[in-house]
């Protein structure tokens, strides 16, 4: 009798062990979404203000990484467009339409409150030093007073396939990565991402169809901060 129980127990242990390993690996599968960036965008942002000192838009420049640029520009040189400029125009339309569907990768907050954004009408794509630049003016739906306010923004690809980082040299954010156009005196800074590992795991575990405040990219996004008196 003793040997039977022992045998049963051994079976349980052994099967549990093996299947435990298997299950652990198999269940890790949904987090295949734990993608790491396969490319990046060097970002610079100019906050635009009107005559009254209200914020009206973010003028963004996306400088695509060397490989992305190389591959896309190669395609243009083989394309049917008569010249490179025409090809770049086409490319600009295409990028604009695709990012529009993803809210231009951008979230803007004023004193912590999420701001509605308008549509991008002014945009251009150009090639400079072998890098593809995509520049666009992203308007706020309403001009927002900056007086005694803090405007923050984040630009990120939710899937984190592309990493968006402010222009930097030797890990120091460049001065021209965040600028302000207008009369108002404000302090400008770019805060590094401070990801919470737990939130990252939760984001990674979510199905890619689930929406809401999700996406791995969010947790790695830098925050631009404009603080005005």
């Amino acid at each position: 009798m003793k040997s039977v129980t022992q045998n049963a127990r051994t079976r349980w242990i052994s099967r549990g062990l093996v299947l435990g390993v298997v299950g652990m690996l198999a269940s890790a599968l949904p987090s295949a979404a734990l993608a790491h960036p396969h490319g990046w965008i060097d970002l610079s942002v100019e906050v635009i203000t009107d005559a009254d000192g209200n914020a009206t838009a973010l003028h963004q420049t996306w400088r695509m990484d060397p490989f992305y640029s190389l591959v896309v520009l190669e395609e243009l040189s083989q394309g049917k467009e008569a010249n490179l400029d025409e090809g770049l125009d086409q490319l600009g339309h295409e990028i604009r339409d695709n990012v529009a569907a993803q809210h231009y990768f951008t979230e803007v907050r004023l004193n912590g409150e999420r701001q509605a954004l308008g549509e991008v009408i002014d945009y251009t794509a150009l090639a400079r030093n072998g890098r593809l630049h995509f520049m666009f003016r992203l308007p706020l739906s309403e001009p927002q007073p900056l007086e005694e306010s803090e405007l923050t923004y984040q630009v990120f690809d939710p899937t984190y396939y592309l990493e968006v980082v402010h222009e930097a040299e030797d890990n120091n954010v460049s001065d021209d990565a965040l600028t302000l156009r207008g009369e108002r005196e404000c302090s400008l800074s770019v805060e590094p991402a401070d990801p919470d590992p737990e939130l990252i795991m939760r984001a990674a575990m979510l199905d890619k169809n689930e929406s809401g405040e999700t996406g791995l990219g969010r947790h790695f996004a830098e925050t631009g901060v404009v603080t005005c008196r």
């Binding site: 045998n7 051994t10 079976r11 349980w12 242990i13 052994s14 099967r15 549990g16 062990l17 093996v18 299947l19 435990g20 390993v21 298997v22 299950g23 652990m24 690996l25 198999a26 269940s27 890790a28 599968l29 987090s31 295949a32 734990l34 993608a35 790491h36 960036p37 396969h38 490319g39 990046w40 990484d65 060397p66 490989f67 992305y68 190389l70 591959v71 896309v72 190669e74 395609e75 243009l76 083989q78 394309g79 049917k80 090809g87 086409q90 490319l91 295409e94 990028i95 695709n98 990012v99 690809d157 899937t159 396939y161 592309l162 990801p195 590992p197 737990e198 990252i200 795991m201 575990m205």
Partner: protein, 346 residues
């Protein structure tokens, strides 16, 4: 058949155990580790891009060494994350066995094949057929789908084998099982002639060795299927890198980097494969010490079946979920196929 409901109970219990384990693993210490891996991958990827760009402008031995080092490291960490290939391999090894050397062989073969597939895609599609890199990247999704289907097929094949094994194990009377663990067809043929049975028993000395053979033999067809179903899926990142390297006139740089990457991947995957084999062997030793070989045979069969089912489930769910990686370039439309009049715009 009184065993079967107990088996069911055991399987149900184990499902719960697996769920608990998985939860603990994913919510606990893995978090910090995964985050660390992610940031290393990110840094290595950027270093890789910059190194290749630099090499194409000012080649030097030091930069070459750096490229190989960075690629290898990238491969190691790239594989450290979860992935369907590793899940399939681990399930296969855990449920079907295989010696240490075979586990290593499978791991490295699959990893190298993954690199070779990426290289072959670029050579054939870009160099020979004149596609642009974006289209080659788009083709990754197609190849990926095919590999998911192969995974499901592999699972079905393993299930069929497990059924045969179980059938054999349950048909044999217990007393005879202990001495002969032949397949049941053999037993059937000789059923009326116990004398033959006896002779045969003496001749081939069926015992421990044979008990392991039918269940655990890693036959080459299964091995090849496993390797192909895992390795056929290239990383679109590798295709992008190879395409960019070609455009820089440095295709060999890209190839070298991909090979180093695959070796790195192989290292990580084989570590995982070894862990799986060790775990399985430990479990097997515990069983053998019970001197219940017919049970062992049945257990091996059930285990093989479970493994097969898990792999089928993996393959099917992967096929249904669709592409795990974007086909083509982010921000741009899906690449059109070569046949269409305007390959640039979707």
């Amino acid at each position: 058949m009184s065993l079967s409901w107990r088996q069911c109970l055991a399987v149900a219990g184990l499902a719960a155990l697996v769920a608990v384990l998985a939860y603990a693993a994913l919510s606990g210490a893995f978090q910090a580790l995964s985050y660390q891996l992610l940031s290393w991958q990110r840094d290595l990827h950027r270093a890789l891009t910059l190194t290749i760009t630099e090499l194409s402008q000012t080649p030097s031995a030091a930069t070459w060494m750096m490229l190989i080092g960075v690629s290898f490291g990238y491969g190691v960490f790239h594989a450290a994350g979860p992935g369907h290939g590793k899940a399939v391999l681990a399930t296969y090894l855990a449920s079907h066995g295989g010696a240490t050397r075979r586990a290593l062989g499978l791991s490295f073969a699959a990893s190298m094949l993954q690199g070779v597939t990426a290289i072959a895609l670029v050579v054939v599609l870009v160099h020979a057929l004149g596609w642009v890199t974006r289209q080659a990247m788009g083709s990754v999704t197609v190849v990926e789908q095919a590999s998911f289907l192969l995974v499901a097929l592999l699972g079905v094949w393993l299930c069929v084998r497990a059924f045969k094994q179980l059938n054999a194990a349950y048909r044999l009377p217990v007393a005879q099982v202990r001495d002969h663990l032949h397949n049941h067809e053999f037993h059937h043929v000789h059923a009326h002639t116990p004398h033959h049975d006896h002779q045969h028993d003496g001749a081939c000395g069926c015992g421990n060795a044979h008990h392991i053979a039918p269940a655990h033999a890693l036959d080459w067809r299964t091995a090849i299927m496993t390797v192909i179903s895992i390795g056929m899926r290239p990383c679109s990142g590798a295709v992008l890198m190879l395409g960019a390297a070609s455009l820089l006139g440095q295709f060999m740089l890209g190839v070298a980097a991909v090979v180093a990457m695959s070796l790195g991947t192989g290292l990580t995957v084989s570590a995982l494969a070894l862990a799986t084999v060790l775990a399985r062997d430990w479990a097997k030793r515990r069983l053998v010490s019970q001197r219940q070989r017919q049970r062992g045979q049945k257990l091996a069969g059930w285990l093989a079946l479970t493994g097969g089912v898990v792999i089928v489930a993996l393959g099917v769910s992967l096929s249904l979920t669709g592409a795990a990686q974007p086909g083509g370039m982010p921000l741009l439309n899906e690449p059109a196929t070569q046949q269409e009049s305007n390959p640039l715009r979707g």
